[in-house]
Symmetry: C2
């Protein structure tokens, strides 16, 4: 698939066919894409926890805050929840921070997910302390991001910014999710 198509299809999906199972092998393949990606000073301070079972998925689900701009929606109902997760950790024994490595790694994994017919969403709004406890993480691991993954069950469309200039995403009555994106000429500085 051309990169433009991969990137365009790689929307932030928040509703899934929950009965579409993801295997641990699939998650490992995605982490391998992160492993092969650039990392500042080649430090490779990112580590990963995988979840692909209903039990472990349920634990992670409870610790995520969904779609900040959709005030009336608390997250996907049972049956439309992610089939798997990749929890991205900073290994503080290796480095105290990782600059934007987690963004690079997340994008590699999500583009790989799109290629595999999946989709996902990056979470930074996480109950970190509670999730770290629930996963029994050693103290030197810091939770950076959670990638939720599954077979997307929603229509997400990019639209131009409206006249009010708002970048808040929204849904229509049919549940179609719209994401206003700035125009190319508005983000390139001469």
């Amino acid at each position: 698939m051309p990169v433009k198509e991969l990137v365009t299809k790689n929307r932030s999906y928040r509703r899934f066919y929950q009965d579409h199972a993801i295997s641990t092998a699939q998650l490992r393949d995605l982490v391998d894409l992160a492993r092969l990606s650039a990392t500042g000073a080649n430090l490779q301070a990112l580590k990963y926890v995988l979840a692909a079972t209903p039990e472990k998925n349920s634990i992670i689900f409870e610790h995520l805050a969904w779609a900040g701009y959709l005030k009336d929606w608390v997250g996907p109902v049972e049956g439309e929840r992610p089939s798997g997760y990749i929890v991205m950790l900073l290994d503080r024994k290796i480095a105290k921070s990782c600059a934007c490595d987690h963004g690079i790694a997340a994008q590699s994994m999500l583009l790989g997910a799109v290629e595999a017919g999946l989709g996902g969403c990056i979470f930074a709004n996480i109950k970190r302390d509670q999730l770290a406890a629930a996963l029994n993480l050693d103290e030197h691991y810091e939770i950076l991001l959670v990638l939720a993954l599954g077979k997307p069950k929603e229509d997400v469309r990019i639209v131009p910014l409206g006249e009010d200039g708002s970048i808040r995403y929204y849904r229509d009555d049919a549940g179609v999710h719209y994401v206003p994106k700035r125009a190319l000429d508005d983000i390139i500085i001469d």
Copy 2:
């Protein structure tokens, strides 16, 4: 090209066929990939300065620090320098920080570059104040990263970590560049 191949070919290249010109249109296509990528709370606070002329390229080149681990190498010689650059800015009028958005955007652009037969390198070690002045940037723009781009003129190979566990990249006498990467089982936590 499969994502695995894109990611594998997307090494950090630091020597290029400098006479291989990159057009502004190509750089715009890459920024469009960044534009369509995920951004925290959909804020889209990243802006971009493009360089594709020898004059502007030369200005940017002067403000970058090359390959920290190669102590005897100050950077590519004339003739092997990048043919273009994308300077990634945070627009502080939109947000005070952008989490890891610049990593996500950089990866989208670099994978697009690989697909187009190019390659590049992400710079975070930048003389920011001087470069901002040289580019006449307004005060509300903060330089986050610089992407150097060109047609790669070096052989970059991923290798396992050696017995000493060092992640420092190195070159052999033939100029081949080796990048030690941790094994998949060493970055996945059970």
